[in-house]
């Protein structure tokens, strides 16, 4: 009896998941069709539903970015592309579109080095660095009492040590770069950073739709941001989309 109930539950769950995926795929296809016929706003709706119904994927995020860009939502387009870029940093279409959008945003994506950090994020360094670090540490442990100064063991240990140091350096630089690179995108028109985290505060400087900023501090619904020129100001959190590192 219990076995039969279990099998039945599994079938129901499987069907449910299949239905959800089918709906998401259907929304994805409808989004492409609407985009192709120039109905960008409708296309944005379909891609957003595909994102909500199914799990995020590079294709959905990328296409959503395109649809938003053609719909005039530069900031939201950049946010979608950056999320897609997180998953596949080296993909040419994503990079090309991001460059296109950033060229249209004054004070765009910040310095060039931040682009390199995005292409080689810490997770790209982490596994090789961890393997190298543990291997080197094991070799060091094994070689503690080994008198093999000129031998092969010592030579390989030195090479592995050099590689480990380089990988750890790369990981550290990438991690530090990620922490200081812009991690949020301004969305919407007429966004202005304020001197303090209250509505009554004076406007410090305007921010264009799509400007990429770094979130410095979060205080309730307000966030303190630093733009690419180093200006510091406060924004309501709803006016930016934060991109996880």
């Amino acid at each position: 009896m219990n076995t039969a109930v279990s099998i039945l539950l599994r079938i129901v769950c499987g069907l449910f998941l299949f239905a959800i995926r089918a709906a998401a795929q259907s929304d994805f296809d409808r989004g492409i069709a609407a985009y192709s016929s120039g109905r960008f706003q409708e296309s944005v709706g379909h891609f957003e539903r595909a994102l909500t119904n199914g799990r995020p994927s590079v294709g959905v995020l990328y296409n959503l970015g395109n649809a938003r860009f053609r719909n005039g939502e530069v900031g939201r387009a950049i946010a979608a592309w950056r999320l897609a870029e997180r998953a596949e940093p080296g993909r040419g279409e994503i990079r090309g579109n991001l460059e296109l959008a950033r060229r249209q945003v004054a004070g765009g994506a910040g310095p060039e080095w931040t682009q390199w950090v995005r292409r080689l994020p810490p997770r790209r360094w982490a596994v090789p660095a961890a393997v190298a670090a543990w291997s080197w540490a094991i070799l060091l442990f094994v070689g503690l009492d080994r008198d093999d100064r000129a031998g092969h063991f010592r030579r390989w240990m030195n090479r592995l040590g050099a590689a480990t140091i380089l990988l750890l350096l790369g990981y550290s630089v990438s991690l530090a770069g990620t922490r200081s690179a812009p991690d949020a995108v301004v969305v919407g028109q007429g966004v202005a950073a304020r001197f303090g985290p209250v509505d009554e505060s004076s406007v410090a400087f305007p921010l264009p739709d799509g400007a990429e900023v770094r979130v410095d501090e979060v205080r309730g619904p307000w966030i303190r941001i630093v733009d690419s020129f180093g200006h510091v100001g406060w924004l309501p959190g709803s006016q930016v989309i934060q991109i996880p590192p």
């Binding site: 595909a50 053609r70 004054a106 540490a137 028109q189 590192p245």
Partner: protein, 597 residues
């Protein structure tokens, strides 16, 4: 081998880049220029020249090369100047020269390398006109010069007015000049200098003026007239007050006049005149920038045209957009930034507002900009490449959604533009959604993952540290010879007591013999005490401050232990007495041993 060559070449190129960058950085603020006082000179003059170096110190005085006209130059030394202008401090070193002119024609001094503390600086080439010597009967004369006798209609010309005097000038009225047929342009600052002509020092005051002929044919620029007061001689002073107020000089008023210069003004040729020619005369380069390229229908953008070069900027027409349906243009402001005092070279900026009222406009195209180049006597046309734009319908409610300004979008004629790919340069959609991804923060991107990387080294460090600590502790706890000896002593004392308690006289005296020798050897710092006798130890122990009573007791104990080897039997009471004596002696020896270092 080839790899090594390639690597060497690469490294050399890298070093060259680094050096060039460093040199450029160092030299960024330092400049050097060669200056002449006048643009028009006469044959036979000895003229002053100078090289002005700013924000650097010359390490050597460069030489000015001779030419057919400049036959002899010599350096007169250098002087330093420090000045603060508008709060900005600058440092100048002026190297003075003089040179002799022989012959007539264009004096052209090429670029000169000036070695300085900031590297080698180069001056720009300079040129001047050397004219034939005019006969002079008066000590004060007025001259009017122009660079050419022939020019084109609308061309800007520079003329120079010079007062040359062998006398000391006291006063000068402003000159009067006829400009019939010309438009007067900018006036340059007056410059005074001294030249040597036929061995006589001549003071020269020069001022420059830009003029533009407005009609063709033979025109006369000038004449120029003015009055000056000069000192013609010194009379004997009648008093000190006369001298103080300059009364000792004899003054004379001179009415000066320079004849007008005849200029042949040519009309602009009709042959080869482009249809779009708007009257620009000069040699120009143009560039256009647009404030935004991603627009909503109905948005306005600002186009800036930059016209650089030399020529007549006053009546310069603005470059234009090609008229197209959906484009409305509104002329804006213009601004001229001259690069020289007369405004012969510089940059003129035109701004134009454009409203884009159609989504079908995909690019801003520009009309050709034609100008007449008087230096070569023919027309030229500069063309700007179209700037692609993207125009979309505004959102419902008319809210502006255009992206922000993009000053980098420009249409310089020399610039090579990448054509947009697909619609507006946007890459096409992806046909498949692809595998699912996580948009949350990845653990590998977290700084806590650094702990995983550091953990093996921390573990290794802890292991090595603990091992070293343990070794140190073991080493510290390892018994020394003295410590061993003390331990043996304690054991022997215990055995002695046990034997005394048990009444075992053989064991007692064996232990006594061993204990005494061990203790004495320890007290005297000897390696072994096995062969010691009472005679051997008495004197050294006495020297160490052992009491006579203890020495006596020690002698008795040695004797007893030696005797016991042959007759070890003793009563328990005797053993207790020997034990008490032994402990007293050993106690004293041990206290002395503890006190010794």
């Amino acid at each position: 081998m080839r790899h090594r060559d390639a690597r060497c070449t690469g490294l050399r190129a890298l070093w060259t880049c680094i050096l060039a960058w460093g040199l450029q950085t160092v030299l960024a603020g330092a400049t050097a220029r060669l200056e002449l006082d006048r643009e028009f000179m006469e044959d036979g003059e000895v003229i002053p020249m100078r090289i002005v170096v700013e924000d650097a110190v010359p390490s050597a005085i460069p030489s000015i090369p001779n030419s057919q006209i400049l036959v002899f130059t010599e350096s007169l030394g250098q002087e330093q100047r420090q000045q603060i202008l508008n709060g900005v401090s600058s440092f100048q070193v002026v190297i003075r020269y003089r040179g002799s002119l022989r012959g007539t024609g264009e004096l052209r001094i090429p670029s000169i390398s000036v070695p300085t503390s900031a590297g080698v600086l180069r001056t720009e080439p300079v040129s001047a006109q050397v004219l034939a010597t005019e006969p002079r009967n008066d000590p004060v004369t007025l001259h009017l010069y122009t660079a050419r006798d022939t020019c084109y209609l609308g061309e800007t010309l520079a003329c120079e007015i010079q007062i040359q005097s062998t006398l000391n000038l006291r006063e000068a009225t402003p000159h009067k000049m006829s400009f019939d047929g010309f438009v007067v342009g900018r006036t340059g600052p007056g410059i005074s200098s001294q030249v040597i002509r036929d061995g006589v020092l001549v003071g020269v005051s020069a001022s420059r003026q830009a003029v533009i002929p407005t009609k063709e044919g033979d025109l006369v620029l000038g004449p120029v007239s003015m009055e000056v007061v000069a000192e013609v001689g010194r009379r004997r002073a009648r008093s000190l007050i006369d001298d103080f107020f300059g009364g000792g000089a004899e003054l004379k008023r001179f009415a000066l006049e320079a004849p007008g210069r005849r200029l042949k003004v040519l009309p602009l040729p009709t042959a080869g005149r482009p249809a779009d020619f708007g009257g620009a005369v000069g040699r120009f380069q143009i560039e256009a920038t647009v404030s935004r390229t991603n627009l909503n229908r109905g948005d306005a953008v600002t186009i800036r045209f930059l016209v650089r070069g030399n020529g007549s900027f006053d009546g310069l027409p603005s470059p234009r957009l090609v008229k197209a349906p959906g484009l409305q243009t509104y002329p804006g402001t213009n601004l001229f930034e001259p690069a020289d005092p007369l405004g012969l070279t510089g940059t003129k900026v035109f701004e134009e507002a454009v409203v884009v009222d159609s989504t079908e406009v995909t690019a801003l195209e520009f009309q050709p900009f034609s100008f007449f180049d008087p230096q070569v006597g023919r027309y030229s046309t500069a063309r700007l490449k179209p700037i692609p734009i993207q125009v979309v319908e505004p959102e419902a409610g008319g809210e502006a959604t255009a992206a922000a300004a993009d000053p980098s979008k420009s249409a310089a004629p020399e610039a090579v533009r990448t054509p947009p790919q697909g619609a507006g340069g946007l890459q096409p959609l992806m046909p498949a959604a692809g595998p699912a991804i996580s948009v949350d923060s990845a653990p590998l991107d977290s700084e806590y993952f650094g702990l995983v990387l550091l953990a093996p080294f921390v573990g290794l460090g802890l292991f090595v540290g603990f091992r070293g600590l343990r070794r140190r502790r073991n080493r510290r706890q390892a018994p020394t010879r003295r410590h061993l000896a003390e331990m043996t002593l304690r054991d022997q004392q215990a055995a002695l007591r046990r034997a005394a308690a048990a009444g075992d006289s053989k064991a007692f005296f064996d232990a006594l013999s061993a204990l005494l020798r061990q203790q004495v050897s320890l007290s005297l710092g000897l390696a072994s005490g096995a062969s010691l006798t009472a005679v051997d130890v008495v004197d050294p122990l006495r020297e160490q401050g052992v009491s006579e009573e203890s020495i006596e007791n020690l002698r008795r104990l040695f004797a007893a232990s030696d005797a016991a080897r042959f007759a070890p039997m003793a009563l328990p009471d005797e053993l207790a007495t020997w034990l008490e004596m032994t402990e007293r002696v050993v106690g004293e020896l041990q206290s002395l041993t503890r006190e010794s270092p």
